[in-house]
Amino acid sequence: MLHNMLASLVDLNNTGHYLHWGFIQLSVANAVVIGLMVVVFALAVLVPFRHRRSR
């Protein structure tokens, strides 16, 4: 069940999708990962870090 759901979202049995900007070629999968990294970095900067105690 879970396997079928994931397979429908990410089809690994066919050729991947690529983005092209001139000589730059980037797979959609890598672009998604880079986007996630930017989001996580922004959250790490903006979200306050809660700690137990300070003095």
Binding site: V33, V40, F41, A44, H51, S54
Partner: protein, 257 residues
Amino acid sequence: MSTDITTDAVAGIEEGARPLPGDERMWTARLRGYLVRALPPGKLLPDRQPSYVSSWVYVFGVITMAALTMIILTGAVLVLKGPSWWHVSSAGLFVNSMHLWSVEVFFFFMVLHLWGKFFMAAWRGNRKLTWITGVVCFLISIGAAFTGYLSQQNFDSQWISTQAKDGLNSTGVGAFFNVLNFGQMLIWHVLLLPVVVVVILALHLLMVRHRGVVRPLPRTKADRGAPQHTRSRQSSPPDATTAAAGGSATGSSDGDR
């Protein structure tokens, strides 16, 4: 009561490092003295951190190390069981996937750690070698990951190796780094490169402990000339400490600019 025990323990370490009269010139005594001065126990394993370490940005390095621990543990199991196990059995596929996803987490957070340290100019305050060892560790990790893809023993690794050989041979390294030689790539992946990564990471960490975590960049032009404890818009002085993970409360007194 507990304070007395802690104080006694620290005093005992310092006392134990002191050479006997007449032994001061021995190389062992001098090396021990240097190491104790450079990395006293309070710096090596501090209880408190500077207040500016209270940020999620400082967690990236810790997550990277946690991922490396998982990579080594799952990798050790894979080496012991072999490809006929990791390709066929359910447990083998699970451990193989854990190994792969630990690598994904490792690089994801290693690059975020790199971004964070770049934007805070973490090489300030005589921390150049800390920065350089981090970069070298990153580059060698890419080689370790590459040889891991070559060691999968499937069609994917065959495709990667045959594609990579032409590029590597064009640089001349193919004479001693043959990506089509599975035995050679496996040894690079499971022994040589992991050892180098772990050793450089240990040096990197010891340097962080020795120098302390770099202070944040000043927020305004006026702050650049002001004493660090009077900088504006800080809820607490930079020297204030907090119980948190990562970094060192000591060793940050040297110039950061």
